[in-house]
Symmetry: C2
Subunit: 136 residues, 2 copies
DNA sequence: TGTTGTTACGGGATCCGTAAGCATG
DNA sequence: CATGCTTACGGATCCCGTAACAACA
């Protein structure tokens, strides 16, 4: 089965037919798109795209897969966003700061976390924000 | 958005309403199911299940999400399996052996790999076999 | 020859199982 | 008090970006 990031890369590349633009839309490197597309192709033995360094097009199998997956994927993302939207009761603005040293000056607003494990916390926050906002 | 394994855990638990049976069906530990369910709940702030150590039931949001996701997920898995099935030309049986030492007796059938990186190769093989067979 | 897709490689995050903890009926 | 969900922890895997490489027009 396809992973979530594989589905997103596949659908985006099927629409853009260009690795660079796909990477840009998905905010990752083109190298990652290349490998993310190649992995399920190698796993199944089924090429989804025919590409040279100048042209990218869907194979017949790739086109059928796209047509089968695209509407269902929209359905799933829609159901998820609706669940999140209907589940939250109040709306507002949250400001967040990361303080890289211990004796930083106090803040007057928002949350304050110590910098321990800062990247992990920032990542978790970004994920939650993404889900709650419905946008990147 | 939900990861692939999160979707599968959610759908299975929504049907079984039991962490142990869900883990069994998905061939993972119950501890993993617990964390896999908890993670999107914490990420979004929306409980999907109401559970004690004696009872598991869907919340209202969980039920709506299930109804929105279940048919679309079947659609995606079906499209993927169909792409794989239509993409393979010949069918047959493949037997595979892993030989843990260098001068093992020769085999008369199937593939033979050295034991270098055996777990990685076995994993890759299992993934490919899963996709090609459409079963566990 | 420049643009675009691929391969190599190292680091960080995450998934996973085992084992211990805890709570419900 | 026994079943069953959760938390703690260590290890393997995988995702990701940077950088070097390859190939097409």
């Amino acid at each position: 089965m396809l992973e979530r990031h594989e589905v997103e890369a596949f659908l985006t590349l099927a629409e853009e037919l260009h690795f660079g633009r796909t990477a840009e839309r998905l905010r990752v490197s083109t190298a990652r798109i290349s490998q993310t597309i190649a992995k399920p192709e190698r796993r199944t033995g089924i090429p989804l795209f025919e590409r040279t360094s100048r042209r990218v097009e869907l194979t017949a199998a790739g086109r059928r897969l796209y047509e089968g997956v695209r509407p269902a994927w929209d359905q799933i993302t829609g159901a998820f966003e609706q669940a999140v939207a209907s589940g939250r009761g109040l709306t507002g603005t949250l400001r967040v700061a990361f303080v890289p040293f211990e004796d930083a000056p106090p803040l007057r607003w928002g949350l304050l976390w110590r910098a321990d494990n800062a990247t992990a916390r920032l990542r978790a926050f970004a994920e939650a924000a993404h889900d709650l906002a419905g946008t990147a």
